[in-house]
Subunit: 107 residues, 2 copies
Amino acid sequence: MNHGNLLGEILAILAEEELRPLLATPDLRIERIVSTGQASPPGFWYDQDWAEWVLVLVGQAGLLIEGEVAPLLLTAGSYVYLPAHCRHRVEWTSTETPTVWLAVHHR
Amino acid sequence: MNHGNLLGEILAILAEEELRPLLATPDLRIERIVSTGQASPPGFWYDQDWAEWVLVLVGQAGLLIEGEVAPLLLTAGSYVYLPAHCRHRVEWTSTETPTVWLAVHHR
């Protein structure tokens, strides 16, 4: 049985975002991402072949969808569905506490 | 853009578990479940054709997998992967605070 806790083993400060795969099938990928202040590089947009359903468990982030005026504020419990090729970027993540994301990518 | 908050709109006391669909494709179903003390009926086992990756966001629950001696204690952040036809039952959920689950069912 594969089990664990998404809020365990979080380092306070990381140089880069930490990505931990939790489940992978040919059509589905579930992963935990921990951000500690990271943001997408200037001018960078995610443009993914797979759709992504993403949830913030703890922390805060600003997610900008291309064409929107302002980033969406994500806090504990916030989720967003990003269809394939919905261009988006992470404008900021909290620098005070780690932000833990659950990302469900699917084809 | 489909977005929201999993911790919003939680009623304190519900007669039955509340199930809210969040995403559905032919091979994937994401839903929020809110339990307020409910448990599986005596002798009942879930035996599902699809696999389920399940996460507790807040609250507490005891999940019994067939063949295990004791239920697994699930608290905030706990996740479990239940392959298709892995028989299991919810022994109990917290009666003090709502338990919010995220269930990702996939084929």
